[in-house]
Symmetry: C2
Subunit: 349 residues, 2 copies
Amino acid sequence: MKTPTIRDVAQRAKVSLKTVSRVINNEPSVRANTRERVQRAIETLGYLPDLSARSLRSATSYALGVVYDNPNAYYVISVQNGVLSACREQGFGLQIHPCDSSSPRLAEELRDLVRRSRLAGLVVAPPMSERMELVRYLAANKIPFVRILSAAEDPADGYPCVYVDDRDAAYEITEHLIQLGHQRIGFLWGGVSHRSSPERFKGYESALKDYGIPLDKKLVIPGDYSFDDGFRGARRLFALRDRPTAIFGSNDEIAAGVLAAAKSCGIDVPYELSIAGFEDSPFSKQSWPALTTAKQNTEEIARHAALRLIAELRPPGDAIAAAYAKNEGFSPQLVIRDSTARARLPAAD
Amino acid sequence: MKTPTIRDVAQRAKVSLKTVSRVINNEPSVRANTRERVQRAIETLGYLPDLSARSLRSATSYALGVVYDNPNAYYVISVQNGVLSACREQGFGLQIHPCDSSSPRLAEELRDLVRRSRLAGLVVAPPMSERMELVRYLAANKIPFVRILSAAEDPADGYPCVYVDDRDAAYEITEHLIQLGHQRIGFLWGGVSHRSSPERFKGYESALKDYGIPLDKKLVIPGDYSFDDGFRGARRLFALRDRPTAIFGSNDEIAAGVLAAAKSCGIDVPYELSIAGFEDSPFSKQSWPALTTAKQNTEEIARHAALRLIAELRPPGDAIAAAYAKNEGFSPQLVIRDSTARARLPAAD
DNA sequence: ACTTTTGTTGACAACGTTGTCAATCAATGG
DNA sequence: CCATTGATTGACAACGTTGTCAACAAAAGT
């Protein structure tokens, strides 16, 4: 009734340990006949390879780590699920590692994590993925990793990544608001520790420029990727003499804060104020009115990142190694819902 | 530059492998002098014990698994963080395992997971924790586990658990609504695969009874723990001739759906309709108006569950084993926010 | 026919750690 | 001073697997 080992399988199939090992690892040079016999023995015994023993013996290991520091539950779960889907497909385990991105010992912490648990590599989410000294440390310590980061194009810095074009999507959102007739569009920044924040601002800035709308600094408010900062920022904008007719919150949480602020001030959304978010978290669908936003397919992005990492681990020439050898870019898609509408005519003011 | 092993430490400290092992594991019978020498060697080399080798050699392992099947990101993250906090404190790793609770092969899947990864035990979240045949299977296969489940009292079925008194909290919420003067209170069910659903209903039912309010079956709507079912259920209630003045949604997502439905019908919350949720997800704070709800401290509950599991693994007499030897109950706390208010007087209708 | 190649298999060591047990040492009691 | 105890230490095997290498058999080339 003990859990069976490779030895039990070998005995039952009347072959050596090594042959069973070969069958398990799909190595060539096993006669079809023998292979089948071993397979049968494996099935009847319900044998499962022991991951500890495996990763102890072989240099290569069978688990990835995913590293994040993000209060946004939806984002984290999406990343986890995306990575997990790739891991399960490729026979890898997954170790999650929430951490404190501001910790000075983070680099060593990650190195130790990889060593202790013999991780094959790390998927690194923002904002850690954007700290170059951390990236260089990992590379210097020969720890395989893939970054998920915000960039308009492949950073081509020699380190593998999957990048998300926040700037382009922010441009589209701003453009959408402009095309609805809005001229005074407020912008609420996300946290500056995230590269996505300035990227989204750049998209906003450049759309205004392309449409010949001057940037009014009073309409741009710093803050964090949080509901509360959205609320506070919106209140500040409402207090302006010439209040904006639309507000672009750097993510859905901020936009939710704006929505709450609008309601608390009796401002009708979308007819008096259009609101756009960013991310397409479930929240944006479930608010009232539902938020116009940019849909980031985080799960798919994370899945791709994991496969990209696994590709790096494979010997060159391998099918996966080939399919995911290059850095890939993703563009969030504009999703128009009910929180944005045509600007009321100035006359009606 | 290779990662140091116990062997390197032994060499440097001029002791045998075994002595180093003893120091690492805090075993007695090492002279203070020797111990210190070894510690120094460990520090200077930056030695870290290899978890694979450890769990391969020793019968006991150093990782827990957490098993869940829940679309609610906030809930899942809270459970993960709670378990993780206990794991880090006690030197355990953590393997997450989202799964499909309706899969007929789930039991074997979990057993295989535990074997392959040499997990010390499982923290099982609802609804898996409530399927007795699964529980019995785990027990029969000598897989240590702790359940998180919904119950008014210790089930005392011999299997360890941490239980949450949903019934009592649902009673309090209903009582709160009644005390605000509501007599017609709608109830939207959660998914029936979760034990918490009937528990919450029982709380609702029994509060009505205690206050002498007859249960009107037309006000009770079946559904799932989802925004959409909240929306649809609310619409059905609004269509009634004698519409309720308050609605109790079985969780915050349902309540959010009710809120959206109310807004889409131009019903003012809370003055025309009070809404209460359950769970205290961030959402409930961030909607407008903020939701009255029952605060489940999921993170603390999960943390306790993990410690309860670790206690089961320890030899009796151990400090943790003693502190967490018994099943513990938790009661969600009523949190009154802005979505509930005094019922308007019938006269004002 | 005999050598060479190719394919298939197994014996053995090794990965880094801990369990077992015996050896050594210091201290205690007679 | 010697026997006895108890604390400290180390040699060795073992956990379950894979890498190395050699043995062997079958197929191919001469």
